[in-house]
């Protein structure tokens, strides 16, 4: 893609975000997105980023940062040399470090990007904030609810921006879906069914110079809550967002029932998050069946939205066959008796109508969230609403883990940090 083509694609993407965030109620529901899209960031004096963690996710972030108009990667850091080397390929002019403290001490960066195992987020965040740097951190926020809150407290104390990676909040399809939901197109939303189903071990090959816990940190409890913090967090955030609330409590069941390979985290999770008014988010994630993939089914009294598929469905009942035949008869000039008044119910099979598209295209939601972060760093003021969404999503995912571990309903904590 040429630079001109890229700019056109970028413009088209930004326009879609602006269009989606222009609806009634959207300024309150997604203030960060409109602000980030409307920023028109200047390319001069970009925000200088140091990326900590250049594994798969970190390198994907570097590629997205390169698309932005207002951020540049000037330093990278990883404790595992092969990852660092791959990062240098993507950011050849960036200085390379194996110790994040050395990177912070070296200066020349405005903010850090954290893309490391979950259990290291809080410590790295504290170090960066204490060193006077703003922080962009991958979701989930931290391994414990207490650490999530402590990260916010530290950011407020240092006056620095803390932003968490939840790219769906910048995704035009999600924003358009929320806009249409707020316009009442699917009626009252009472339930969301969300799933992230994969059919693979979720295990990465371990090179000879690394340990399993180093590479497959997602599978071990000291470093991750597994499916809950690495996948569910995204979808619980979507649930909170569309239900415009945080859960009141969660019940759940987790098990290791297929990949019995020494991992510690569940390979099957099933949870129900309850919200005021009897509303629910029903969540499942598993690793040995991919038919239903990754989706949030946002169910209202008049329709359903499936943002991952990018579709909105109206509750249109099945056709009355006798009346359909009558209409065809009339249009060809034939009058025939209409059998009517028989069974007024029909088997309640899944509806397979295709629905309507919410819009597809080239998307750059991860790019946009970094542009938003760049503008927040420049203004030294976080994008509004974003951190609360991320915090509540992380808390909910960790609370879900507790509900499964203890086998009991967990109420929403009353001692969370105010944002």
């Amino acid at each position: 893609m040429t630079e001109k083509d890229f700019d056109l694609t970028r413009r088209s993407f930004i326009d879609r975000v602006l269009l989606a965030t222009a609806g009634a109620g959207m300024a309150a529901a997604a203030p960060w997105a409109g602000m980030a899209a409307a920023a028109e960031p200047a390319k001069t004096h970009p925000v200088r980023l140091g990326v900590i963690g250049t594994g798969d996710r970190g390198r994907a972030l570097i590629q997205n940062i390169a698309k932005t108009h207002n951020c540049t990667v000037v330093a990278i850091c990883d404790t595992y040399p092969p990852h660092l080397a791959r990062g240098q390929v993507l950011a050849p002019t960036a200085r390379a470090f194996t110790d994040h403290r050395a990177m912070l001490d070296a200066g020349g960066i405005d903010a850090v990007v954290i893309a490391t195992p979950l259990n290291t987020h809080a410590r790295l965040c504290f170090d960066a904030l204490d060193a006077g740097r703003h922080v962009w951190c991958e979701k989930a926020m931290a391994r414990t609810i207490a650490d999530c809150g402590a990260m916010i407290t530290r950011a407020k104390a240092t006056g620095k921006v803390l932003q968490i990676g939840h790219q769906r909040m910048f995704h035009p399809t999600y924003l358009n879906a929320l806009k249409r939901a707020k316009a009442g197109e699917i009626g009252t939303i009472t339930q969301i069914r969300a799933s992230w189903h994969r059919n693979n071990s979720w295990r990465r090959p371990v090179p000879a110079d690394a340990t399993d816990r180093q590479i497959n940190w997602r599978l071990y409890r000291d470093s991750s809550a597994g499916l809950m913090t690495e996948l569910a967090t995204h979808q619980v955030q979507v649930g909170n967002w569309f239900l415009d609330a945080v859960p009141t409590r969660v019940i759940g069941s987790g098990s290791l029932c297929f990949w019995k390979d020494g991992r510690e985290v569940y390979d099957h999770v099933a949870l129900i998050y309850e919200y005021v008014g009897g509303r629910k988010l029903i969540y499942t994630s598993l690793l040995n069946n991919a038919r239903y993939g990754c989706e949030e089914q946002i169910q209202g009294s008049k329709g359903t939205i499936e943002p991952e598929l990018g579709r909105i469905y109206q509750e249109v009942p099945a056709k009355v066959l006798a009346l359909q035949r009558m209409q065809k008869d009339v249009t060809r000039g034939h009058k025939r008796t209409v059998p009517i008044g028989g069974a007024t119910w029909f088997p309640e099979l899944p509806v397979t109508t295709p629905g309507e598209s919410l819009g597809w295209g080239e998307y750059g939601e991860t790019m946009l969230q970094f542009e938003g972060f760049g503008e927040a760093v420049r203004a030294e003021r976080p994008l509004p609403g974003l951190l609360a969404q991320a915090y509540h999503a992380s808390v909910a995912s960790l609370l879900g883990e507790q509900a499964m571990d203890r086998g009991q309903a967990m109420s929403w904590p009353t001692d969370l940090v105010a944002i």
Binding site: S301, V316, Q327, V338, I340, G341
Partner: protein, 284 residues
């Protein structure tokens, strides 16, 4: 020349609704008719907050209520008339505790738009709402210049505007509720509405289907009956078909004799053990 036809399908009144328009009329006529039905649904539903649920809360608390919603007031006035026209048999009022309450306990001041009840009770309009909604949809269609239309709410509530688009009445055949493939009744409608009620058949076996309640006793109707009522107004047809279901023999004869060939009652009690030919059924 081909007749233009279009259709609007949607869920309302707890069932599937289809509006078929043929020939002339405002292009937005069907949308207007749909809005009319949805407005009735919003006003009369007891399955979500509505003017009716507000009213029920007052009546259950033994309090007088002002009926501010014009659709609800119009429905109550229509019910009041239908209650009298059906010898008190059409009765949407119920007392869940004692079962003895009924519309006779209601005092409706039409002019003042106020209602109260002598005993705590609640209203459940049931199928009446479908007929009432179809009536208002027909009014909207006629006002939009439509001269030929067929409306269905759950297939047991039908209304037609004008003549069949190819001339003459609209021919309908009502299937036998217990004998697949057989017809119970054939008839024609012309600018009329029809309501079909039954205590037997596939519709009765539908999940969560509530039984018809005998007024004044709160007991389900167990007689095996199918009734058909035709009227200029769907609301009145609904009231009549329901009344015929719950009527004892004497009152059933009185209701049937008032409008021959427009009200029908099929006694299917002999169908339980062994199906019998339609000729042996009691057809009025």
């Amino acid at each position: 020349m081909a007749v233009l036809a279009d259709v609007e399908r949607f869920a309302a009144m707890g069932t599937r609704v289809e509006l078929h328009r043929f020939g002339e009329g405002d292009p937005a006529a069907l949308a207007g008719a749909r809005r009319a039905i949805e407005a009735v649904d919003d006003a009369l539903t007891i399955h979500r907050p509505s003017a009716t649920t507000v009213l029920n809360e007052r009546l259950l608390a033994g309090q007088e209520a002002a009926v501010d919603d014009p659709l609800l007031l119009k429905a109550l006035v229509t019910i009041d008339e239908a209650h009298r026209a059906t010898l008190g048999l059409f009765d949407p009022a119920a007392d869940r505790r004692l079962g003895a309450a009924g519309w006779g306990d209601i005092l409706l001041d039409r002019e003042a738009g106020r209602i109260r009840a002598a005993t705590p009770l609640a209203l459940d309009f049931g199928g009446f709402g479908k007929g009432f909604a179809l009536d208002l949809a027909c009014v909207a269609l006629r006002a939009a210049g439509v001269r030929s239309a067929c409306l269905s709410a759950g297939e047991s509530s039908i209304a037609v505007v004008g003549e069949h688009p190819l001339g003459g009445g609209w021919p309908f055949a009502i299937p036998h509720p217990l004998r697949p493939g057989q017809t119970l009744l054939e008839l024609e409608l012309n600018d009329e509405a029809m309501s079909i009620s039954s205590t037997v058949g596939a519709g009765v076996d539908a999940p969560e289907r509530a039984p018809m309640i005998r007024p004044g006793y709160a007991a389900p109707v167990t007689r095996r009956r199918c009734t058909v009522a035709i009227d200029r107004l769907g609301a009145r047809a609904e009231a009549m078909s329901t009344a015929l279901i719950v009527a004892d023999d004497d009152r059933a004869i009185r209701l049937l004799s008032g409008r021959p060939n427009r009200n029908f009652l099929f006694d299917l009690s002999q169908e339980a053990a062994m199906p019998v030919p339609p000729s042996r059924m009691s057809l009025q």
